[in-house]
Amino acid sequence: MTGSTELTDEAIRKAEPVLMGFARRAVHREEVARDLVQDTFVAAIENRSRFEGRSSLRTWLVGILSRKIIDHFRKTKRELLTDVPPEPDSPSRFAPAPESPPETRLDHRKAMEVVEAGLAQLSELERLAVLLCDVEQVDRAKACNMMDVKPTHLRVLLHRGRHKLRKVLEDAELRPSGT
């Protein structure tokens, strides 16, 4: 999918694989992901006049989808979005795993599989923050808008999500047989 600003129904529909991938990673339920992507298409087609081309079509659609995902999280969790992270960070959270021998380092493809699976260990908001900022490479200001969180909250979500995935990757490399 390119960064084209052309906003035809076909262009929107062509984004389906990208949006389904994002939704699958975010909610981990196929049926829910499909519903969210369909809702995104409806919203995009109805609001196409709001697409001003300042961001790519992909980013715009991912933004709509992210808001649908947040709404889904709100409906399924009574206490989800707070301004203040619920727990203080403990120093041990950031400690590196024991150094593994060079020969156990995973190749890039295997590392992608490990990190992909590791996304399930993040909280919903940590996962969404990482998906937006790292996978989709949306800047933090836009991600805050998409997630309806303050910059300080996004900062904590990214920090925790990334370090959790770092430990997942390090732990996988400590086990020579892999995951």
Binding site: R25, R29, F94, A120, E124, V135, L165
Partner: protein, 70 residues
């Protein structure tokens, strides 16, 4: 000088260029002298690099029943 814990907290921001100049300088000084934090920094950068690779590699299905906490 920054402690290891302080450096760990700043690493994520540093990856995104969100760290103030003075803090960046202090981090560089710390990382020059602390092998453990260098490992954490390298590992975190690699993790983010792997995440960026996922952009063009969407997953096949999302049938996991895992339900994370918010």
């Amino acid at each position: 000088m920054l402690s290891c814990d302080q450096v760990a907290r700043e690493l994520s921001d540093a990856i995104d260029g969100e760290t103030p100049l003075w803090t960046r300088l202090q981090m560089r000084l710390h990382l020059a002298m602390c092998r453990t934090c260098r490992r954490v920094a390298g590992s975190l950068e690699r993790t983010v690099d792997v995440l960026r690779s996922l952009r063009d590699a969407p997953p096949d299905r999302g049938d996991d029943e895992h339900d994370g906490h918010g």
